[in-house]
């Protein structure tokens, strides 16, 4: 019963039986068309349109790219993400001195309110051997850290002139927000126009915008390049560990006449030093003459200046960037080869 030919014979029978009484093609088509007309359904037309759309997408890559781009934007505009956003500036003014009493503190708080234009000031009092110390806290909704820093410093200097020991600290005030992904993307990109700006003004603006974005400690240097344009140096240090990695930094985009610079206007160097679980790694992003390059050196702390310079220069040259790299006391300097 299970001889191999049995299957062949059964297949032969199936082949012959299934080929019998095949309905006429014209009659079949007529049935299909009649059924389609009878159902005439919107669903059928909808399916057909969807099929046509899929077909267009498959046969026209440009259309597909455009459709997916639109979908991605729509999704980014709808889908919310949670992230920390700098929504203002926290000011902590510390005032110390033996002769400070309740009335003086009230006066200082009122003065701070007036100077910064805020409605509320919280005061923490600490007692110490050398006298009481008061910390006046307030939060400004302004995102410009430089402006708040200036106003706070002016107030602290005025207090110092009146004999108080005063110091001020301004830090970005972050809050967990939930906005669409597109808003997050915009918050992560700092776009600065260089049109008509001097190096000093540009440097100040970069520093200010980075502070607004929660990076108040960036070392920024903008100088005039000998061949024209600007030379931008940006150094940010962040520490983290495996559990809490360093916070991602916003991306700085310089624009000229509304278009992002490709590096042809000068040399852009971004140095990131990451220390995770005690291991320091250095990341150097360079844009020069339209070319971009990145050098990454792990365990950079264990290298001497010359070895570090060599490691960076080698990687950048391999990527087609003709630059000179010098390191003095750990400070990296990169210049285009003239």
């Amino acid at each position: 019963m299970n001889d191999p030919s049995q299957l062949d014979r059964d297949f032969k029978a199936l082949r012959e039986l299934s080929a019998r009484d095949v309905p006429d093609l014209d009659a079949t088509i007529e049935t299909i068309r009649r059924r389609e007309l009878e159902s005439g359904s919107t669903l059928r037309n909808f399916r057909r349109n969807v099929m046509a759309l899929f077909h267009s997408i498959r046969t026209r890559p440009a259309v597909a790219a455009a459709v997916f781009a639109v979908l991605a934007v729509l999704i980014a505009m709808i889908v919310p993400v949670s992230y920390d956003k700098v929504v203002g500036q926290d000011v902590a003014l510390t005032v110390a001195g033996k002769a400070i009493g309740r009335a003086e503190v009230a006066g200082l708080a009122q003065g701070l309110k007036t100077a910064l234009g805020v409605k509320e000031v919280l005061v923490d009092a600490f007692s110490a051997k050398d006298g009481p110390r008061f910390v006046l806290h307030t939060t400004l909704p302004k995102r410009s850290g430089a402006e708040v820093q200036r106003a706070s410093m002016d107030f602290a200097r005025a207090l110092a002139a009146r004999g108080y020991a005063a110091s001020v600290q301004v830090t970005p005030h972050r809050e967990r927000v939930r906005y669409p992904a597109v808003a997050y993307a915009f918050d992560q990109i700092i776009s600065i126009s260089i049109d008509g700006k001097s190096s000093a003004a540009l440097e100040q603006e970069i520093r200010d915008r980075l502070a607004q974005a929660g990076v108040p400690d960036a070392q920024v240097s903008v100088t005039d390049a000998p061949q024209g344009g600007h030379e931008v140096k940006l150094t940010v240090q962040r520490e983290g560990n495996a559990a809490t990695p360093p916070e991602p930094l916003p991306q700085l985009v310089l624009t000229k006449n509304g278009a992002p610079l490709g590096g042809g206007e000068g040399l852009s160097v971004k140095v990131q030093k990451k220390k995770v679980d005690g291991v320091t790694s250095l990341s150097v992003d360079v844009t020069s003459n339209g070319k971009e390059g990145k050098a990454e050196v792990s365990n950079s702390d264990t290298l001497g200046d010359a070895a570090l310079a060599n490691a960076i220069a080698t990687q950048l040259r391999q990527q087609g960037l003709n630059v000179n790299v010098t390191v003095v006391g750990g400070k990296i300097s990169i210049e285009p080869v003239k």
């Binding site: 059964d10 309905p23 079949t28 088509i29 068309r33």
Partner: protein
């Protein structure tokens, strides 16, 4: 009402379908559990082919293109719950079985076809397609790979596994035949039209 473009598209489809119509209907039936299901599957494939016809540039590839559509509809029909279709017999009227053959021989043929269809029904859809197209229809492995949108090794693997399962089915069937027989056919697995015996 159909527009002129629709009519022209139907005309084109009919022209292309005519040479392969018989084979495609038979294949659809062989892939299905019954002739009725096979005809439904074929109608579904024709309708889908009509929707996609404007995308067919090279008409010399129509046969493999249409069979690929048929296989796509076959897999969809396996996945989705059964729908109600208008049986083609409703339009044509019930067909009479041919007469004049030896009734016993025909009954044997029907029994064999039922058994083959039942064995095929136990395969996975992609294995069933590979076996039907290659072993019954006679398509080459390359052609089957083209129709299934797959690779040649994948088709070979499906054929090997499918044949293994068929072999197991026949071994099991042989054991059941040797044992005292209660009921060997599972209700609902087969629906090939029974033929009234010829009285000649």
């Amino acid at each position: 009402m159909d527009s002129r473009a629709d009519t022209s598209r139907w005309d084109r489809l009919i022209r292309l379908l005519r040479p392969i119509h018989g084979q495609a209907v038979a294949t659809a039936r062989r892939l299905s559990r019954s002739a009725h299901d096979g005809d439904d599957l074929y109608q579904d494939a024709v309708l889908r082919a009509y929707d996609k016809l404007n995308g067919l540039r090279d008409e010399s590839r129509f046969r493999s293109w249409f069979f690929a559509t048929l296989l796509s509809r076959h897999r969809s029909s396996v996945r989705r719950p059964r729908r109600e279709w208008l049986p083609i017999e409703d339009l044509l009227g019930r067909r009479e079985e041919p007469v004049g053959e030896d009734g016993a021989l025909w009954e044997e043929e029907r029994r064999r076809a039922e058994r083959a269809a039942r064995a095929l029904a136990g395969l996975k859809p992609d294995q069933r397609e590979a076996v039907v197209l290659h072993d019954i229809e006679g398509f080459s492995v390359e052609e089957v790979a083209d129709m299934q949108g797959s690779t040649i090794p994948a088709v070979k693997s499906r054929l090997t596994r499918g044949r293994d399962r068929l072999r197991s089915f026949y071994l099991r069937h042989a054991r059941e035949s040797e044992a005292p027989r209660n009921e060997t056919l599972t209700a609902g697995t087969m629906a090939w039209p029974a033929k009234e015996r010829s009285h000649e």
